[in-house]
Amino acid sequence: MDRVRDLASKKAAVIFTKSSCCMCHSIKTLFYELGASPAIHELDQDANGREIEWALRALGCNPSVPAVFIGGRYVGSAKDVISLHVDGSLKQMLIDARAIWF
């Protein structure tokens, strides 16, 4: 969990993914579309991948990837991100965290 918190605080927008996960690809695309440059951590390429995955599940992220953090705070999985995007909250969160400017 510490590792997760640590990594999540390093950049305004952080996404945990797996290289084989196509839904992760969708969420990354969405962030790029919004003009954000999130830090991407691929769990299957990380030595501590399994540990991190376990911690993400403990946070309630199911499936464990993609797991999105904005401003160091856990936002959710694909479902949450899409819901927040539709009502405009996602953009505001990114602006508040200085991940994007407009």
């Binding site: 690809h25 579309e33 539709v86």
Partner: protein, 331 residues
């Protein structure tokens, strides 16, 4: 008297009646005793003649009845063939039609068929609710009343998304195929359902007048919806590519005994990837649901009512178009 040919029935002279009588008697004209010299003989002949005439009349009527019956049979047979063809076509479309012949098959717990049935029921219920809404709007119902009906319809939409989530688990390919929709609807389908961004484009014109704030809100919603659709589409493309890569890894077309393990490994990986399809459909539906709810939040009750009516109308027209298309005369 000259015997007029029985076939000639175009006569304008005074002898018409007599000629017609002769015609009715048919071939008996030869038997007509034009010689009335023998009275008693004549009388007997008269009775016989009358009987014979009646018999002939009865026979003629019987022939006509038989002809009519046969014609009826022929047209019924034609109708039956047409119905069978329609049924076949409908079955191919995936519409659930139980037949007396395959009870066992239809009870096989088929997720696709179960969903089709649920969807048909859902659609029927929606038609009812929309009619209720339409009459409420037309009768200038109060905002409170309108809100009740509108909320009911929104809740009903939640229901279809719930049903689809279950169906995605049971048979994701059935949902993706769109066979549960009519052909014209299927044409415009995206990831197992309608495209929210397109729907909003339709509505903007129908919903005027909107306040400045509402226009901005709807505009943003349209954009967000479009962005999310693009993101999900790209994810799907990545999935297809990934699947293709998995299936084509190693050598295709060559036979090698040592490839069995590879083959099984490939299949296992491909199976895993197929499993993620369900997630895409779920998120596509999530997007649709969220978009509808956000739209409802931006609009007033009255505007929401108009929006829901417009949406239903649009899809009804697509469905009607499908019916017309299926029934079109073909050479």
């Amino acid at each position: 008297m000259a015997d007029a040919s029985p076939r000639t029935d175009i006569s304008t002279d005074a002898d018409t009646d007599e000629k017609n009588q002769r015609f009715d008697r048919g071939q008996s004209t030869a038997v007509v005793a034009s010689d009335s010299s023998d009275r008693s003989k004549d009388k007997l002949d008269q009775k016989t003649l009358r009987r014979l005439a009646q018999n002939r009349e009865a026979a003629r009527k019987s022939r006509l009845r038989k002809k009519a019956y046969v014609q009826q049979l022929e047209s019924s047979r034609l109708k039956l063939t047409q119905l069978e063809q329609e049924l076949q076509r409908a079955r191919q479309q995936g519409i659930f039609i139980s037949s007396s012949g395959d009870q066992a098959h239809s009870m096989s717990g088929n997720g696709a068929m179960a969903f089709d049935v649920e969807y048909a029921r859902w659609l029927e219920e929606q038609n009812k609710q929309i009619n209720e809404l339409r009459s409420a709007v037309n009768s200038h119902a109060s905002d409170t009343e309108l809100r009740m009906v509108v909320d009911g319809i929104m809740a009903h939409y939640d229901e279809i998304f719930r049903l689809k989530a279950n169906a995605a688990k049971a048979d994701v390919f059935h949902l993706l195929s769109g066979m549960w929709k009519t052909p014209a609807e299927r044409c415009f389908m995206w990831l197992g359902g309608f495209r929210s961004s397109e729907l909003l484009k339709l509505l903007v014109n129908q919903l005027e007048p909107l306040t400045e704030q509402q226009l901005v809100g709807i505009g943003n919603l349209q954009q967000s919806s479009q962005q999310a659709e693009d993101a999900l589409s790209q994810g799907m493309e990545a999935l297809q590519q990934s699947l293709a890569e998995t299936l084509s890894s190693g050598s295709l077309g060559s036979s090698g005994s040592g490839n069995v393990a590879n083959y099984m490994g490939q299949m296992a990986m491909a199976m895993g990837k197929l499993g993620t399809l369900e997630g895409f459909i779920r998120q596509a539906d999530n997007l649709r649901q969220q978009t509808l709810q956000q739209m409802h939040r931006i609009l007033t009750t009255r505007q929401s009512a108009r929006a829901l009516l417009a949406i239903h109308d649009y899809f009804s027209r697509l469905r009607a178009l499908s019916s017309l298309w299926m029934a079109r005369p073909r050479e």
